[in-house]
Amino acid sequence: MEVDREDGRSQNQLRPLACSRSILHRAHGSASWSQGDTKVLAAVYGPRAGTKKNENPEKACIEVIWKPKTGQIGKLEKEYEMILKRTLQSICILTVNPNTTTSVMIQVVNDDGALLPSAINAACMALVDAGIPMRHLAVAICCCVARSGLVILDPTKLEEQKMKAFAYLVFPNLVHSVLPEGSPSVQGEPIENGIITSVTHGTMSVDDYFYCLERGRAASTKLSDFLRRNLQQQPTNSSKAG
């Protein structure tokens, strides 16, 4: 069943991805991530000494500050901050630098759909740029369920508003194992099938959700490859004399 998307993409096609790292000079790590017209800038400062009052001093603490493109900070921004904080806490190795705080600042440059997944991807790349120790990367994708039950990936803002439901899914990235027994698996399923984070909006049936999960997993392998290629490229030499 074909669906007409306004920009002519097919059901499973993602928008063009672009990512650049080390774009801010004062930040310890920074990255800009864009998926089509959605663009997010992430900066990482840390680890700094000391944790906040209610946090556990035996572990590192991650603080997220989300700045929208326009308007005041409200409940939506607080919710995104909390989701991002908990997602990043689950991928960073918190026991390496105890009693420190790492701040992640997110600035929305343009919102054209799939904003939270772009922010998660940008934050991961910024953490890599800053050298924060992590277990694996998080790969985030947005899946929309149309009224006909069809699932499309990476919607634009118009598509998000028209569809009956959408889901933001975050998976761990694909592991290329050098060991002969292949990548580790839990309960017979490979590690990259597990969900780190899932946020849904709107009404969908339970089967639609599982279908979204499958499509999301397939897309996350493409995103993982993009991340791997991007990270393997040499960073540009910032010295003009070089």
Binding site: K75, L76, L88, P172, E189, G194, I195, I196, T200
Partner: protein
């Protein structure tokens, strides 16, 4: 309290409490090995739930919901306002969730709880997208007047599963809501009619009516820890095992929300299916409890 050699004397009790405070994860894991939790619940069972309708007499609709010790008070006030230009025949619902310092030692007067805006937003999204309330029912005079329902939910005791209790309280308050009688006075403004049959003005709606509820959403929060799935956690369990999954289903088994905000444990398909199955059971329990509360009120 779960340990096999608990005798009556004080020193053993003090040791159990000390162990619980010093090594909370080991304390819980000892219980999980026996498929039970410290409050003697099996892993898949939620705490005792009660709903009391009409808790706030001055509000148009109110309810007090308790899941175990978690207590939520929901109240709805109705006000007449002009509808927006884009939706001239629809009313409006404003949902707010408050965590006053009474609910938990972590919440202090100057510093609002981190969980409050997040739960408020989740509640708002869930209730508005569930289709439980048809906004066109809240319209009075198309283009000129419509009802605005202010739903306020106060957490009186925060002992885990805040979203579940808040959603239950909100749903119960809506099922208790009675829209007051109003009439149009000579200036063209809507006023509350105190008594029927007294005024010579034509009442805009004839009698206090209840709102028709569409499909009602119910939720269940589960904690994932290694291979265990614990339904309806207490605050202690939530603080030790941080990975939680909240599933919201409505009465026709449509998935309204599957919310898993990060967490060290990854959720595989089998775990999600188990959570959804536990939520389906819980939806049936909650539907029964809500119906009993409503029919209890009607008898009065």
């Amino acid at each position: 309290m779960g340990l096999p050699n608990a005798s009556g004397d004080l020193s053993t009790e003090v040791e159990v409490d000390a162990f619980r405070r010093l090594f909370p994860l080991r304390f819980f894991e000892k219980h999980l090995l026996e498929s039970i939790r410290p409050d003697a619940r099996p892993l898949g069972r939620a705490r005792d739930t009660t709903i009391a309708l009409g808790a706030v007499a001055s509000a148009n609709g109110s309810a007090l919901a308790k899941i175990g010790s978690t207590t939520m008070l929901a109240a709805i006030k109705m006000e007449v306002m002009a509808p927006s230009i884009e939706t001239p025949d629809e009313g409006c619902i404003a949902i707010d969730f408050h965590m006053p310092p009474i609910c938990s030692p972590i919440v202090r007067p100057g510093r609002p709880a981190e969980a409050a805006p997040v739960v408020a937003k989740q509640l708002s999204d869930t209730i508005l997208s569930s289709g439980m309330i048809n906004l066109k029912e809240l319209s009075l005079v198309s283009g000129k007047a419509a009802w605005m329902a202010y739903l306020d939910i106060y957490c009186l005791d925060a002992d885990g599963a805040l979203f579940d209790a808040a959603l239950l309280a909100a749903v119960a308050a809506f099922s208790h809501l009675e829209i007051p009688v109003v009439s149009l006075n000579d200036d063209g403004k809507i006023v509350l009619s105190e008594e029927q049959g007294l005024s010579d003005r034509e009442p805009v709606n004839k009698e206090k009516r209840k709102v028709n509820l569409g499909s009602i959403p119910f939720s269940l929060t589960c904690i994932l820890h290694k291979n265990y799935i614990l339904a309806d956690p207490t605050a202690e369990e939530e603080s030790i095992m941080e990975t939680s999954v909240t599933v919201v289903l409505d009465s026709s088994s449509q998935l309204l929300s599957l919310y898993k905000p990060g967490g060290a444990v990854l959720a595989y398909t089998s775990a999600i299916q188990d959570c959804i199955a536990l939520t389906r059971q819980r939806v049936k329990e909650l539907q029964k409890i809500l119906e009993e509360a409503i029919s209890g009120m009607e008898v009065d």
